[in-house]
């Protein structure tokens, strides 16, 4: 009984698998210095950025692809990927009326209205389609408070000093294979700067959509909360259904200066591949934040899509009293694989970190939590608490927990707990005895299991996340 329920829940079809028919301005597949130069030229970038890209590219050439992760995947042909694809623009866009209607429709269909009038509440959106930012809403309103929210490309032109100062400061291009690749070929992404003491009045969000076939998505996001500033930022992702795997290798850098607070939320729903594991997005992302004195970096992620999710949103707790948080729900079903978790690097005194990870595996899904808590010698009074729970919804899935705990300071206190369990038949029977359908019973149990993480999401995203988790909670207290 419960198995069928789980099957039906686990078997829900991907709803964003359609494609849009939009003319694209593309570079031919392949990667060499010429391609890096061409991307830079297309974006009219200054010389220093081109140099930086080239350095990253040359460094990438010296690196080898890592193999320590749990998911295995077919060899990626880096010469077969299109590194730049943009919807063709007829002219410079100054208002929404001038955006390709097909594009607008694409985002409407995804539930992302780019029309500021139509937005229900204060959420500013930067919509990224394939390689470029399509439209950023509410820019003017935000700029009244000195907040800069724009596409990365625009930031390079308009805020060159800020970009130059912080680009690569948290994730240097030498960091890892995919970060190096991203640094060489990144096309666009979002940029945000919150000036000292300003609390950003609305949720900022970026919506990523891969559309063109054969393209890789290499966006770059940089958020800076200046001293005492606060921002809550959301990221959503979908992609069409295609038989071949698509590579998404993004880099996100967060800089929280003294007393700054960045809350970064992700609802990731890239195409996961079909029931037999064919196709789907390889989501290989490097996300890291640095927290200076009294600053806070908080990651919340709901990872439901992608054939392979492989990422560790991390916090470098550099300043004294800084705080890092990581809340994660990851769902793997069919043949999805996930190797995700976080790194908390405690450098400053009295730094604190919290890790709450919830993994749900069904079908042939295979999932690993991998997390590093590292307390450096000077991090007196550091505290970490980690709890990683896995819920299994079948007998062919896997759930693994690989924490790495490294303490070099005697005054640090680190606690890690983990558990793995299956969904209990008695719980399902109890809920059915009270009149709930088997599906609703499973949904309710799963929802309860994830509650600690979902409650960290901003309200709008929490609702979307619940839907994504296959939770049909009509008629219940909302």
């Amino acid at each position: 009984m419960s198995n069928e329920t789980i099957q039906s829940l686990a078997g829900q079809e991907y709803k964003h698998g359609w494609t849009s028919n939009i003319d694209a301005d593309q570079l031919p597949p392949g990667l060499n210095e010429g391609v890096v130069r061409a991307i830079s030229a297309k974006k009219h970038e200054p010389e220093w950025l081109l140099e930086w890209r080239l350095k990253a590219y040359r460094h990438w050439l010296t690196m080898t692809e890592p193999t320590w992760q749990k998911p295995t995947y077919p060899k990626i042909d880096y010469q077969g990927i299109i590194y730049y694809s943009a919807p063709k623009k007829k002219k410079e866009i100054t208002s929404l009326d001038e955006v390709d209607p097909e594009l607008l429709e694409t985002f409407e269909k995804l539930g992302i209205s780019l029309d500021e009038q139509k937005r229900l509440s204060g959420v500013a959106v930067d919509a990224v389609f394939d390689s470029v930012s399509v439209k950023t809403t509410f820019r003017e309103e935000l700029s009244k408070q000195g907040i800069i929210f724009c596409s990365f490309s625009e930031a390079v032109t308009e805020q060159p000093d800020l970009v130059r100062k912080h680009l690569g400061s948290v994730v240097p291009f030498t960091d890892n294979y995919f970060a190096a690749l991203n640094s060489a070929v990144f096309s666009d992404g979002s940029f945000c700067y919150i000036p000292p003491g300003v609390r950003c009045p609305m949720e900022l969000s970026t919506y990523f959509r891969i559309n063109s076939a054969g393209t890789g998505q290499f966006e770059r996001t940089l958020l800076i909360a200046d001293e005492g500033a606060y921002v809550s930022y959301l990221e959503g992702c979908t992609a069409p259904q295609r038989d071949e795997n698509q590579l998404h290798a993004a880099v996100v850098e967060l800089v929280a200066l003294k007393g700054g607070h960045i809350k970064y939320s992700t609802v990731q729903n890239w195409y996961p591949g079909d029931k037999d594991g064919k196709g789907g997005v390889f989501n290989f992302v490097t996300k890291r934040g640095i927290a200076h004195e009294n600053a806070k970096v908080s990651w919340t992620q709901v990872e439901t899509g992608s054939a392979i999710t492989w990422k560790y949103p991390s916090c470098i707790l550099k300043g004294d009293n800084s705080v890092g948080e990581f809340y994660s729900v990851a769902v793997t079903r069919d043949y999805q694989m996930a190797d995700t978790g976080t790194k908390m690097i405690h450098i400053g005194k009295n730094t604190k970190s919290t890790i709450i990870s919830k993994g749900i595996s069904g079908g042939h899904g295979d999932q690993s939590y991998r997390g590093l808590v590292k307390v450096m010698k000077g991090a007196s009074g550091a505290r970490n608490y980690s709890a990683c729970d896995s819920l299994l919804l079948g007998d062919k899935c896997g759930a693994h927990t690989f924490p790495y705990i490294e303490s070099q300071n005697a005054s640090a206190v680190i606690e890690h707990e983990a558990s793995t369990s299956k969904i209990s038949d008695e719980q399902i029977f109890f809920l059915r005895q009270r009149g709930l359908s088997a599906e609703d019973a499973v949904s309710m149990i799963v929802n309860g299991f994830c509650k600690d993480v979902l409650s960290e999401l901003p309200m709008e995203f929490a609702v979307e996340a619940q839907k994504l988790l296959g939770l049909k909670l009509e008629g219940a207290v909302g």
Binding site: D425, F429, L431, Q433, G435, K451, V477
Partner: protein, 252 residues
């Protein structure tokens, strides 16, 4: 003669291929309170699970007729929606799901299935507050996860709270009295007594007579080795209290 609300006919039930109930006959009319007593392992819990439709309990022969229809093939939620309620001997914990949220979801699932209007947030809040007061349940418990971290007494009271909110036609209470101190027992009994009505029947499964001091049954049945060994009025419970079960075993 009116038809019984629940009629059990020559019911045989097995778990994992082992037969536990060897032919139970029982008839409960609307408004009646029946008590089932018996030693551990006599099949009391099995009977309650079979009525509620637990998937691990297989009806191998016989029938359960509820409101004139056989329900042995019905899903547990369909039985619940038709008004059958089981108070669990070991209430289940559901981490992360608040009691309030769960109860409203359950109530509305049942109302919707019966074609009734669903309870709005405000109506539900008023309803649950009233019932919680009746059951002497701390409002704080309503916002906590279902049964998580509840004491034994709180869990049992929470079962009766669900009973009060869901207002079933046929309530089956599986050893709701076990593990309760006398105050909690009184609270539970008060709750049950207040819910007695001409249209609602109760089947109380208990190991001890003491619950029946507080809830007066119309009929008492003794279950022994998967069969009903004796039936009688409430005086049978007192007799059992006095003599134990051994004399019945000899009688069988």
């Amino acid at each position: 003669m009116t038809k019984p609300l629940l009629e059990i006919r020559d019911l045989h039930v097995a778990i994992d291929g082992t037969e536990i109930l060897h032919g139970i006959d029982l008839s409960i009319n609307a408004g009646e309170v029946h008590a089932i007593m018996g030693t551990n392992g006599s099949g009391k819990s099995t009977l309650t699970k079979a009525i509620a439709g637990h998937p691990d309990y297989t009806v191998t022969s016989g029938d359960i007729i509820y409101k004139g229809k056989s329900i042995v093939a019905a899903e547990p939620e369909d039985r619940a929606r038709a008004g059958i309620f089981l108070a669990f001997q070991y209430p289940v914990e559901i981490p992360g799901v608040s009691n309030m949220y769960f109860l409203r979801a359950a109530l509305n699932a049942q109302r919707k299935a019966r074609g009734e209007a669903e309870a709005s947030g405000a109506d539900f809040l008023a309803l649950i507050k009233e019932k919680a007061k009746l059951m002497d349940i701390d409002a704080g418990l309503l916002n906590r996860s279902v049964n998580e971290g509840f004491s034994g007494g709180e869990k049992k009271r929470n079962e009766i709270l669900q009973l009060a909110v869901l207002e079933p036609t046929m309530a089956v209470l599986d050893e709701t009295d076990s593990g309760l101190d006398i105050d909690a027992l009184k609270t539970v009994a008060t709750g049950v007594n207040s819910l007695r009505s001409p249209g609602r029947s109760f089947l109380l499964v208990t190991h001890y007579q003491r619950l029946l001091n507080h809830i007066q049954p119309d009929f008492v049945h003794v279950l022994l080795d998967g069969r009903i060994a004796k039936s009688g009025g409430k005086e049978l419970a007192l007799e059992l209290e006095e003599k134990g079960y051994a004399w019945l075993e000899q009688a069988v």
